[in-house]
């Protein structure tokens, strides 16, 4: 899976959680939880969505590596088999 495809899946997941957000203007290094007002419940749902879409099981101890769009795409690229 290419980085572009992963990024697309991530943006799709964020779009489901924050449907009103303009994801096109989301800065790649912005803190997504702050920028998109994502609470811990939404964040967990986002990870469940990524798990379903990409088959990646993200341990809770890695959550703090998933702050920005760049972080998330990088993390997933490294962990998709």
């Amino acid at each position: 899976m290419t980085t572009a495809q992963i990024k697309e899946a991530v943006l799709r997941g964020l779009g489901q959680i924050a449907p009103e957000a303009d994801l096109g203007s989301l800065a790649p290094r912005a803190n997504i939880r702050e920028t998109l007002d994502i609470d811990s419940f939404d964040f967990l749902n986002f990870l469940v969505g990524l798990n379903q879409a990409l088959g990646v099981e993200i341990p809770e101890s890695d959550y703090d590596q998933l702050t920005t769009l760049d972080d998330i795409v990088g993390y997933l690229s490294a962990h998709i088999g």
Binding site: E20, D37, L44, P59, S61
Partner: protein
Amino acid sequence: MPSLGADMRAATLVEWYVQPGSHVKHGDVVADVETDKGVIEIEIFEDGEIEQILVQPGQRVPVGTVLATFRGEGAAVMPAPPPSAAPAPGAVQVAEQQPVRAAPTLPTGKAVRASPLARRLAAEHGIDLNLVQGTGPHGAIERADIERAAAARKAAESPPVTPVVEPTPAEAAAAPPVAPAPPAAEKPAVTEFQEGMRRAIAAAMARSNREIPHYYLETRIDMSHALRWLEGENARRSVAQRLLPVVLLIKAVARALGDVPELNGYWIDDRHQPQEGIHIGFAISLRQGGLIAPALHHADLKSLDELMEAMRDLITRVRAGRLRGSEMSDATITLTSLGDMGVETVYGVIYPPQVALVGFGKIREQPWVENGMLGIRPVLTATLAGDHRATDGHRGARFLDALNHYLQEADQL
């Protein structure tokens, strides 16, 4: 029309799921009504048969209005459904005062799934929801579907039909006339929902501040045991099965209320009325602004997994606008957690007629002294806002102490 919260004065009947002659069972959803906080499903609380429908879809009626008559099994005719919370002061049975309107054909019983915003837009555009193809989850009709339908009709240049919702003469006199919605109805519709939500919150919170003499207690809780246990538990679970820390908090509050039951209940008619069932109103913020605190029923009797599932279900339905009436009116206490926003301490405003509100801030590492040793622990600040008419600080302190105790034994929750 049951009261679905202290802040509710009136609501619009959206749809009936029964008709005269329908047999209903305890817990059946018989109708949808639209309040300022969205579309709520109205349940019935007895088994029996619907006799007569008195309020038609589109009619807005005050709390206390008889919506339909109903014959309980082996019982005399009685109004249905009974209000499950305290009726608003001055609420009267006013069905006969409502203007008679040409009755639309009774629903066929097929439920139309649509978001509150979609219903509002459809009403503004005069679009029959039954004729719209939904593209949302489970075929739910969403804003985009209504906009498509509206655009399609505009293209066909057919004249708009009369909107379904009309103000009653009383309302028309009380409220300024609403200008017809412009074609791009998105913004006004959202604003209208937000305005209604703000009005509802304003009414409840102003009443709370006027009537309830609040006292506040605050305590710091060492969360290291609870979080360590949760970490171990979540490490064994796939992402979809994981528990959030707030679930531990909900359960600990429910357990502590078992020890201090005075905080679980209402103040109604100058009288403290503790309740047996522990139904925790869980404050959920809406993305479009505003707040709803629907009840997690019998939180003390649910396992952590059941609570997580119930909370997931509740949040999902809050955001889709599919709450049930009992969830709106049954809460016996409110829990609000603002830790996700980085807030340390929450000083809550009690939701009347409840007598307490528990607030949680962010769990953050702080210096912690124990047995003469200074260490660093994840610390949670818990607050209690109590109604001083119903309880005193001593009972409140007892509650926070019990809460702390249960969180130190998270594996027992």
